[in-house]
Amino acid sequence: MKYLIVAVLGLLVGAALAGVVLYFNPFSVAAAQPSSTGRVLHYTLPDDVLELALGDDAKIFGQATGDDALWEETIDRSAVLGLVLNNDGNQPVAVASRLMAVSPDTDLLFRGVLVSDHWLVTIPGEGTLFVRADSNTWPFLKETLVRIWYLERPWQGPAEYWPTVGPGADDAGVVVGVAGNFRGREGRAVERYELTALDRASGAALAEGELHLDLPGPQVAAQ
């Protein structure tokens, strides 16, 4: 009996140590960084949100999903987000649809909690871009969901995140020009966002985000 208790305690201690390793996760891939020559589209949350539909199992902060809930079993860990994107002068220049789903490639040890993020960005008068990115949400989740929501610790913000970890070369996202001036072009994309305010009591959060696009050709480089 003594040996059994020791064995169980040993397993629990080992699992707890592994939990600490996973929390800090020194093995996860580094996030991609943007090049210096690309175009940057900006958004702020919640001001630039046109619409958000969440899957029933994607409501990590207990949000209400309203009439647009994605309740079906095949899409219950998905989300649909409509966004206005702004130029460097904070003028609205594009509309984006983001179709997101928790990725089956999620690997808590080496890659993180991955979300497959599919952007369709239309810039009126210029064309349409498709961006596919794997976003590691673990740094955000552990600092907000775990620390603030569950442990009820004070928020230490603001906090900056670079979630893009693939699937393209050098762990950047992939951008493909689908229509208009962008058609036939391919490049890389990286997202950055900064959580500027977070209040657990009211459930309010403010964030500023950027989509860095590096698509060879004068159309994208021009502002």
């Binding site: 169980v8 040993g10 699992a15 996973l22 095949t74 899409i75 649809s97 179709l99 497959s116 239309t122």
Partner: protein, 220 residues
């Protein structure tokens, strides 16, 4: 005893990390794919959208016409984009049997080359695919309904079919997962069966795709 402690700690540590690596538990329910092989060797598959049940939202810009009328579910564009020739719509997507399998975004816009429609479909259990076609003329659905007797503010029942891709099919632009590296074509048709007095459309959107995998290189 020390050996037992050490062994169980290592075992607990290793098993937890292995579980985190191999079994994070992210899988999606999948329904069987309803595909058929067509005469030229391609694979035919249709995706359906039932209106109004599957419409998640649409922008409220002036380019949307009836498809952007409703306050409920409208994505309210900023003033700077209201008059731009752009219409964004979000839907749930069904397979040919009517089961919801994914979500989709439809972007219609006009650029120097004319109207363009781009669909992005995400089927979490299978992957994503982007479709591109020459877009319908602005207000095509409204015009087709009016030609069949629809009047604004009145209910309308009947049947009208609008071929949104016209005579020229669209193309598969890019894909991932099961749709990676596929080439192919698609057609988009809207079959409308009614409009209520608030202008809400009833009907079905069908995306009929014919895709082909890249040919394997011949063995030497």
């Amino acid at each position: 005893m020390k050996t037992l402690i050490l062994l169980t700690v290592v075992l607990g540590f290793g098993a937890t990390l292995a579980g985190a690596h191999f079994a994070p538990g992210v899988t999606y329910a999948r329904v069987p794919s309803h595909t058929t092989v067509v005469a030229n060797g391609g694979r035919s598959e249709s995706f359906l959208i039932r209106l109004p049940a599957d419409r998640i939202a649409a922008t409220d810009g002036n380019a949307g016409g009836m498809r952007a009328l409703h306050a409920a579910g409208a994505m309210q564009l900023p003033a700077q984009l209201m008059d731009q020739p752009v219409l964004i719509e979000h839907f749930k997507v069904r397979d040919a049997d009517g089961s919801v399998v994914g979500v989709a975004a439809r972007h219609w816009s006009i650029d120097a080359g004319g109207p363009t429609t781009v669909w992005s479909l995400l089927i979490p259990s299978r992957g994503s695919v982007v479709l591109r076609a020459r877009g319908e003329q602005r207000g095509a659905v409204d015009a087709a309904l009016r030609a069949k007797g629809y009047a604004v503010g009145k209910t309308w029942d009947g049947e009208v079919r609008v071929a949104m891709t016209g005579n020229e099919p669209g193309a598969v632009a890019v894909g991932s997962g099961e749709f990676a590296n596929l080439s192919g074509t698609y057609t988009e048709s809207w079959t409308l069966a009614g409009v209520d007095d608030a202008g809400e459309l009833r009907g079905t959107i069908e995306l009929a795709t014919v895709t082909r995998a890249p040919e394997a290189s011949a063995p030497e």
